[in-house]
């Protein structure tokens, strides 16, 4: 059934890993230095922060859609839970004098809240697959949105505010690297083999000893954790959130970034999020027509290049040892039961 995923992916030889650490350190240093010395204006910093948040969203959606081969089309729901969780934590729970020092706690709280509600999607995914699961995820996002609109404590449809602007470039860079690192290592772990085997053939992977339920719960939890983290960062960037920010359009944007960059690819997620975010900024003068272009791009991608730019391929950088074809990955291992 899933013809597009039949390609082997992770067969590239080992690459040198040391430059990776150097790049991360350099990037982190730059993300502190550039704004500090006033080398970038506020608008450029804002765009860079958006790119970072979108990379986190894209890699988190890609884990479910690209690596596990399930359809989540309501990821904005997880983002909303994370945004509200983080915002409420930082406004109502953390004392104000703690300031930015407690910011990671707020973000963690948002991420954990999102990971917790991911059970609402993970448990139906045991029984339903394919387009029905897509509906479950979309319905989940709708429920989150309507529930938030009905909660007067959280401001209802008017939204929630009072957060300080804690989201800065270094913080976004940190969380972005963390999400990429965690998801990459997850995908290459024994559990990750299980994730890929679910994509290739769920029944076969179950027969070869993968505890598919456990793998699904874990994957959905990890994915929505980072979607929630992105939501928390977003909330502390704009200092205002309301339920209608996290509608189907937001989910559609995430899908575009995943399918533009490439399904099942870490490099593709970075590429897709960066290209899309910057393109949308460049096209800002187009006004409303920019929003017409967005879904049109998605439709054209689906018809002409459904796997995206880096679909099922990976930069050597993100691969650390030669791994046999993904079809054989689960063979002989007791994934998920250990």
């Amino acid at each position: 059934m899933m013809k597009i995923f039949r390609t082997a992916i992770h067969g590239q030889p080992a690459g040198p890993r040391r430059p990776m650490l150097a790049v991360i350190i350099a990037g982190f240093a730059l993300s502190i230095a550039l704004p500090y010395f006033g080398l970038l204006n506020k608008y450029v910093i804002f765009v860079l922060i958006s790119v970072g948040i979108n990379v986190i969203l894209t890699i988190s959606l890609n884990l479910v859609n690209g690596f596990m081969g399930e359809f989540s089309v309501g990821h904005a729901g997880f983002m909303a839970v994370g945004a509200y969780g983080a915002a409420v934590t930082s406004v109502n729970v953390i004392p104000r004098w703690m300031g930015a020092a407690a910011f990671p706690t707020a973000i963690l709280a948002g991420g954990l809240a999102a990971a917790l509600v991911s059970l609402f999607v993970a448990i139906p995914s045991f029984k339903t697959r394919g387009d029905y699961l897509a509906i479950v995820t979309l319905a989940f996002a709708m429920i989150v949105k309507s529930a938030l609109e009905n909660m007067d404590v959280l401001g209802g449809p008017r939204g929630f505010m009072g957060m300080q602007q804690f989201t800065t470039l270094p913080w976004v860079f940190f969380w972005m690297v963390l999400s990429l690192w965690a998801i990459r290592n997850f995908v290459y772990s024994a559990y990750g083999r299980g994730v890929l085997s679910i994509r290739e053939d769920e029944t076969a992977s179950e027969l070869s000893g993968v505890d598919t339920r456990k793998v699904k719960v874990l994957t959905f939890a990890l994915s929505s954790f980072f979607a929630g983290v992105a939501g928390g960062l977003y909330a502390h960037l704009l200092q205002f959130i309301n339920p209608s920010m996290f509608d189907v359009i937001k989910s559609t944007e995430m899908l575009i970034m995943v399918y533009l960059g490439g399904v099942g690819s870490i490099a593709g997620s970075i590429l897709g999020a960066s290209i899309y975010t910057i393109l949308m900024e460049v096209l800002r003068p187009m006004g409303v027509w920019r929003m017409v272009l967005m879904p049109a791009v998605l439709i054209l991608l689906m018809i002409f290049r459904p796997r995206g730019i880096m679909g099922l391929r990976e930069l050597r950088w993100f691969v650390y040892k030669a791994i046999p074809h993904s079809g054989a990955a689960a063979k002989g291992q007791n994934i998920g039961n250990t």
Binding site: T128, G130, D131, A139, I143, S146, N150, V288, V292, M302
Partner: protein
């Protein structure tokens, strides 16, 4: 008692809208096994086209409604031809995502062409109300309900008694055999989209008569409700979709009676989630088994 009868009329009215739109979802699912998420937005386009003819071009009611219906039917055929047909052999996920994309495209295109919410002029100001035993029903409402029921009966007849209907049922039974019998698969699929989208357009017109303020995003929630109706009845099942629309209308009205009105959407979506987990083939569908 009168209160409940009054609410029952509301059930009939919302249910009719949901059923008419649900038919489009269910027919497309029947022939292509694909959920046409853009269908709710086709309903919205129907309302906007009606506005264009009635208000901008100042045409009378009947020609406006006919023109809006025909144009939405053509729009349905066009989406199938240019967005879904190239993906017929592709994985299902591509089709689902494309359909979402088409929906957002229609919304934003309408928004770009027409940035403001519009008001459909009152066309039946002279129409009165009937009342019996404390229950009041406006003639407009009654006309909407009766006309919807007529359309559904007509569709049911088409599906079960005509040659085209037989071809549609044959395709949903086994698409690979149909061309061997000398039936044009593409033609029948196009006809299915035309009928489904046309019914959606009619629903858009009727809905905009009852709720005259229209905006580009009005199709999202109504479309979802209609989709839930189709799932309640068992997606792919025409009579199921009709029944499902009224069942959802009943559930929503009961929610409004017993809970604050804003819980309507949460209830509807929770119902969908529960159904999908425990009875994904709906009330009137048959469970599907799959071979490993």
């Amino acid at each position: 008692m009168a209160y409940f009868l009054q609410q029952f009329i509301n059930v009939l009215q919302t249910g009719s809208t949901y059923s008419l739109i649900a038919l489009g979802y269910t027919m497309v699912y029947g022939v292509l096994s694909m959920i046409n998420f853009a269908h709710g937005d086709i309903f919205m386009v129907g309302a906007f086209l009606f506005f264009l003819f009635v208000s901008t071009l100042k045409l009378p009611f009947v020609p406006s409604m006919l023109a809006a219906t025909v144009l939405t039917a053509l729009l349905g055929v066009a989406t199938e031809r240019f967005a879904y047909r190239p993906l017929r052999g592709a994985p299902k996920m591509s089709a689902v995502i494309t359909a979402l994309g088409v929906g957002v495209l229609l919304e934003h295109l309408t928004l770009a062409i027409n940035p403001y919410p519009r008001h459909i002029p009152a066309m039946f100001e002279g129409s009165g109300t009937w009342s019996a035993g404390g229950v009041v029903i406006s003639q407009l409402k009654a006309a909407i309900i009766v006309f919807s029921l007529l359309m559904m009966a007509l569709l049911d007849f088409t599906i079960n008694k005509t040659k085209l209907g037989m071809a549609i049922r044959a395709i949903s039974w086994d698409m690979s055999v149909v061309p061997l019998m000398g039936v044009s698969v593409n033609g029948v699929i196009a006809a299915t989209f035309a009928i489904g989208a046309g019914l959606g357009g009619i629903a858009g017109v009727l809905y905009s008569l009852a709720y005259p303020v229209i905006n580009p995003y009005m199709g999202v929630m109504v479309g979802w409700k209609a989709f839930i109706s189709a799932v309640i009845g068992g997606i792919g099942n025409v009579r199921g979709a009709i029944v499902g629309g009224y069942v959802l209308g009943l559930v929503e009205t009961l929610t409004i009676v017993f809970l604050p009105a804003t819980y309507r959407d949460v209830t509807a979506f929770s119902l969908l989630l529960i159904l999908l987990v425990y009875r994904p083939y709906g009330l009137m569908g048959k469970p599907k088994t799959f071979k490993v």
